[in-house]
C-alpha cells in the first residue's frame, strides 16, 4: 500500500520544514496516466502541468539560504510545509492537504508527492561533494526516469511481480548546480510516487534479512539483461600494496586493525593481488519485507548496463565487518552473464561516448560515470533548459530510446 497521508509515515520520525516557491520552475514532462490513476480527480489533462508545479516546485530553506553549491535561488514569498523522513538527504514529502492548509492549491484532493532534489535540511551544510549538495541534476532526474522505465519493461518481460516505483514528473528548477571544478549544470526535481521505506537499525539490512535473497534474485535477473545495480559507490577493493593490505569502499580508503583486516580477507576469500567485490545496491520499499514476490524498488541512479560481469557479488549488510554479507563468487552456479537474446544493446547503453549525435559535455566528462543514457539525459536536460526542446520532445526521445533498446525482445 502506498502512503496517502502524512500520518501513514511514522509520525514522530518525520521532520517538518518550511519550503519556498520556485517561481522559475518549469515542468519538463509528466506521467499523466499514472497521475490520473493515483489522483482520480485529475481528469482534465490541461490542469496537470499547473497542478504539479503548484504542489511540488519548492526548495528547502537550508538550500535557499546559500549559494555555495548552486547559483542563487530565486524564491517567492509563497511557502508550505514539507516533511523529511529518516535518511531522506535531498527528498521531501509534500502533502496535498497540508499544502492546501498553507494556501497552496485550490482543489480538494488528498495524497502525497515525493520530491527528490528539493534541498538539504535546515541544519545540514550543503557541500560540493557526492550526495552532499542537496540537489539533483536535471539530467540525473531524466536518467532516473529512463532507468525506471527500462526496469519496469524488464520486470514485465520476465513475467515477475517486481516493479520500480514510478515517477510522476520531472521539473526544471531554473537554477544551476555548481560543481567543484566551477562548471554549472541545470538542477531538477524528480517527483515520485510516495512510498515507505524499511527502517534498518544499522543503516542497511542485516545478514538474516529476507531482503538478502530477494536482492540477489533481482540482481541476477537484471544481469540476464546486462543490467546491474552496482556502481562505483558500492565496489569494495582489497589489494596488496607494498606488503600492506589496502581496503577501499567506493573510492574511500578505510582503516582497520590488523585482526580486522585478516577477518575481511578471510570473508572475501582474498589471498593475494587485488580483488573487487561488487556490493548489490537494490533499495526496497517497506512492503518488500512482507510481499517479496511483488517487491518494489527505488533509487535508480546507481544502475548500469555492462557487457559482462567479472567480479564476485556481495550482499551489503549492517551487522558484518565492512558490510560483507553473503557472497556469490564467479564460479558459483548462480553467477550469470547477460543473455544475448535479451541483453540491452551496448550501442545504446554502454560507454561509447556518443549517442544519436549527442556527446558528453566537458562538465559531464569530469564525472565518474559516462554511460550513453547519461549522455542522452544530460543533453536532453540542457536542450530543454535552453528551450531547444519542448517537454514533449524530451518525452518522445526517451520513448524512442526505450523502444530501440527492447526492439529485439520476442
Amino acid at each position: 500500500m502506498r502512503p496517502k497521508e502524512i500520518e501513514d509515515f511514522e509520525p514522530t520520525r518525520l521532520e517538518p520544514e518550511t519550503v519556498y516557491r520556485l517561481p522559475t520552475a518549469r515542468l519538463v514532462f509528466a506521467n499523466r496516466d499514472l497521475l490520473q490513476h493515483d489522483f482520480p480527480s485529475l481528469q482534465d489533462d490541461s490542469l496537470i502541468d499547473e497542478w504539479l508545479i503548484t504542489n511540488a516546485a519548492f526548495i528547502s530553506a537550508g538550500q535557499r539560504n546559500q549559494s555555495v553549491v548552486n547559483t542563487p535561488i530565486a524564491t517567492s514569498d509563497e511557502q508550505t510545509m514539507a516533511f523529511r523522513p529518516p535518511h531522506y538527504g535531498r527528498a521531501l514529502i509534500f502533502s496535498l492537504a497540508v499544502n492546501r492548509r498553507c494556501g497552496i492549491g485550490t482543489d480538494t484532493m488528498t495524497g502525497l508527492l515525493d520530491v527528490k532534489g528539493a534541498g538539504v535540511a535546515l541544519r545540514t551544510i550543503p557541500k560540493l561533494a557526492p550526495h552532499a549538495n542537496g540537489l539533483m541534476m536535471l539530467g540525473e532526474a531524466i536518467r532516473e526516469v529512463i532507468i525506471e522505465k527500462m526496469l519496469n519493461r524488464i520486470f514485465q518481460h520476465s513475467a515477475t511481480g517486481y516493479r520500480a516505483v514510478p515517477s510522476y514528473a520531472v521539473i526544471d528548477t531554473g537554477f544551476d548546480i555548481k560543481r567543484a571544478d566551477g562548471t554549472r549544470i541545470p538542477a531538477g526535481l524528480l517527483v515520485r510516487r510516495a512510498h515507505l521505506r524499511p527502517s534498518f537499525r544499522l543503516g542497511t539490512k542485516e545478514s538474516s534479512s529476507p531482503l538478502v535473497d530477494l536482492e540477489f534474485a533481482i540482481e541476477l535477473l537484471l544481469r540476464r539483461y546486462g543490467v546491474t545495480s552496482i556502481g562505483v559507490a558500492t565496489i569494495i577493493e582489497i589489494a596488496d600494496c607494498d606488503s600492506e593490505t589496502t581496503i577501499k569502499y567506493g573510492f574511500t580508503p578505510l582503516q582497520f586493525k590488523a585482526d580486522e583486516v585478516e577477518r575481511i580477507k578471510a570473508a572475501a576469500n582474498f589471498t593475494a593481488g587485488r580483488k573487487l567485490l561488487e556490493g548489490v545496491n537494490i533499495q526496497f520499499t517497506k512492503a518488500a519485507e512482507s510481499n517479496p514476490d511483488r517487491a518494489q524498488i527505488i533509487d535508480f541512479g546507481g544502475f548500469f548496463v555492462k557487457e559482462n560481469f567479472e567480479n564476485p557479488i556481495v550482499s551489503l549488510v549492517g551487522d558484518r565487518l565492512l558490510r560483507l554479507g553473503e557472497m556469490i563468487s564467479t564460479s558459483d552456479s548462480r553467477f550469470v552473464q547477460p543473455d544475448e537474446k535479451i541483453r540491452l544493446p551496448q550501442a545504446l547503453w554502454g560507454e561509447t561516448g556518443q549517442i544519436w549525435g549527442y556527446e558528453a559535455s566537458e562538465a559531464e566528462l569530469s564525472a565518474f560515470v559516462m554511460d550513453n543514457p547519461k549522455i542522452l539525459a544530460f543533453n536532453l536536460a540542457r536542450d530543454f533548459r535552453e528551450q531547444k526542446l519542448s517537454g514533449a520532445d524530451v518525452c518522445s526521445k526517451i520513448e524512442l530510446f526505450l523502444n530501440a533498446s527492447t526492439a529485439h525482445w520476442i
Binding site: 561533494a129 543503516g203 558500492t234 567506493g250
Partner: protein
C-alpha cells in the same frame, strides 16, 4: 496534559556536526552562547552557525547573545582547517546552569555533547536511536556512550535504546569517530521521570 518531549538530533559527519538545541519553543529567541576553539588553532571553524528558521547567525569567538525566530534552534559546525571547537548555549534560559548544552568537537580527539544540566540530582527518561548511513556510503564508525556527571553510564548500541539515568549532567560521547564520508545520527528524547 503532558506534552510529548521533542526529538532532538546530533549528527556527526566528516569534519563537523549538527545539533538540535530546540525543536519546540520560540517564536522569538535570545540566548547566551560561548564559542571557543582548541588551543593551537590560528583560525576559527570554517562554519559555526546557530540556525533558526528565520535567521542564520555566524558565531564569533567568545561570548555573545544570539537572536532568531521560529520554532527550532540548531547548531552547525564545519571545522575546515580548525582542529576543534567548544560551544555552549542556553536557549531556554535554564536557571540551574549557565550553559546546559556544551558541544565539544575535535578532529583528533573524542567528541562530547552535554545535553542537560541541573543544580540538583535529577531522574531522567532518555530514549535514544543511533543510526548509521546506508550502503551507498562507506560504513561510518564510533563508540558511543552516555555519560552521567562526566562518567560513563552506558554504551549506546545501534538502533533504539532507553535509559533512566540519575545525576546533574547528561552527555553523549563519541569515541573513535570515523566518518568515512558518511555520517552518524543520534536522535534522542529527554524527559523528567
Amino acid at each position: 496534559m503532558s506534552s510529548t518531549p521533542p526529538q532532538l538530533t546530533i549528527q556527526l559527519f566528516q569534519g563537523g556536526f549538527s545539533q538540535d538545541l530546540a525543536q519546540s519553543g520560540g517564536p522569538n529567541w535570545s540566548f547566551p552562547v560561548f564559542y571557543e576553539i582548541e588551543a593551537g588553532n590560528n583560525e576559527p571553524a570554517q562554519i559555526a552557525n546557530i540556525i533558526t528558521p528565520g535567521k542564520t547567525t555566524p558565531l564569533q569567538l567568545g561570548s555573545q547573545t544570539v537572536t532568531g525566530s521560529g520554532s527550532s534552534v540548531s547548531l552547525v559546525v564545519d571545522l575546515g582547517p580548525c582542529t576543534g571547537v567548544k560551544i555552549g548555549s542556553n536557549p531556554f534560559g535554564e536557571p540551574d546552569c549557565d550553559y546546559p548544552f556544551i558541544s565539544i568537537f575535535s578532529a583528533t580527539d573524542s567528541d562530547t555533547f552535554q545535553i542537560a544540566c541541573t543544580s540538583e540530582t535529577t531522574n531522567w527518561n532518555l530514549d535514544v536511536t543511533l543510526e548509521f548511513t546506508g550502503p551507498e556510503m562507506p560504513p561510518a564508525f564510533a563508540d558511543v556512550s552516555l555519560l552521567v556527571d562526566g562518567a560513563t553510564y552506558k554504551s549506546i548500541p545501534a538502533g533504539q535504546s532507553s535509559y533512566n539515568p540519575s545525576g546533574t549532567t547528561l552527555s553523549f560521547e563519541f569515541d573513535n569517530f570515523k566518518a568515512n564520508n558518511g555520517a552518524i545520527k543520534l536522535l534522542y528524547t529527554l524527559s523528567l521521570t
